[in-house]
Subunit: 164 residues, 2 copies
């Protein structure tokens, strides 16, 4: 667990300069960001978010899974956010495999075939649109003000995806 | 969508100083972080993570939902991570409500009662332990090297939670 020990040591430096101790629980920008978990994407840095500004929800692909929708519902209904920003990115791992192929491999290794979707997708732009459509179709999400982006891991740039 | 316009403007500043254009897809620290979506928690800053270091998975509570487990499975099986860091935090919104009460309210407003758990919990320390237990119980997660923390939003400090 050496990598974790590095992070604990890093945290001491953060604490030494910490000045955000009295921020309110609801996000200041009334925003939730749904982004991919990719290591090369730092949503706070790429979007200029400060501590307290926005909820940040992340998973493999930045997809509107049932759990991402749960988080958005809590964000809006209990903590007052009103805008949603979607961030997929270039060179995404989710474009490199197919669900069936990986599930077959897992079955061979564990004797169990996953009963859930892995949510691989072939095209980030198309999947941003589909992600927005899933959110729009959800009956519990109150505010459907959605903007979608593909983040370029090569340049740091956000490219907006036109949503219908 | 004024807040989103602010973020787009902020991104131009990030692009102007961007120097991380050739990082590999697999995380350098072979690590996945599972943290709460709370706006006051910036996992990269609090843990000293640089672009490329670690997958960051976030949801309401930082819970090991089915989707967080999906993300961890992809992180480990397709992208080579081996350690998991859990981050809950003080003053969490998930401690401020009960599932049943919020579901009743949603039913009254929409005519539909959510069929899924909201995953409220009364105690962050206990829920870090339960989160680790869910991961340990999952048959598809390969590496069960888990450390758990409660982040103090008041001080920026990570408090480690002893796991069984």
């Amino acid at each position: 667990m050496s990598a974790t020990e590095d992070l604990i040591a890093n945290n001491a430096g953060y604490v030494a300069t910490f000045s955000k101790g009295s921020l309110p629980l609801p996000p200041a920008k009334k925003m939730a960001v749904l982004a991919c978990m990719d290591a090369r994407l730092d949503p706070a840095k790429a979007l200029g978010l400060q501590e307290g500004d926005a909820h940040v929800i992340r998973n493999a692909g930045g997809v509107a899974s049932d759990d991402a929708l749960r988080s958005i519902i809590i964000s809006q209904r209990l903590l007052g956010t009103e805008e949603i920003v979607l961030v997929h990115h270039t060179d995404c791992g989710m474009e490199t495999f197919h669900d069936d192929q990986v599930k077959d491999k897992i079955l061979a290794e564990t004797g169990l075939r996953p009963s859930f979707a892995l949510e691989a997708f072939p095209d980030a732009v198309a999947d941003v649109k589909q992600t927005a459509a899933r959110i729009k179709a959800n009956p519990f999400v109150v505010h459907k003000n959605i903007r979608g982006f593909v983040y370029e891991v090569e340049t740091g740039k956000l490219r907006e995806v036109p949503l219908d």
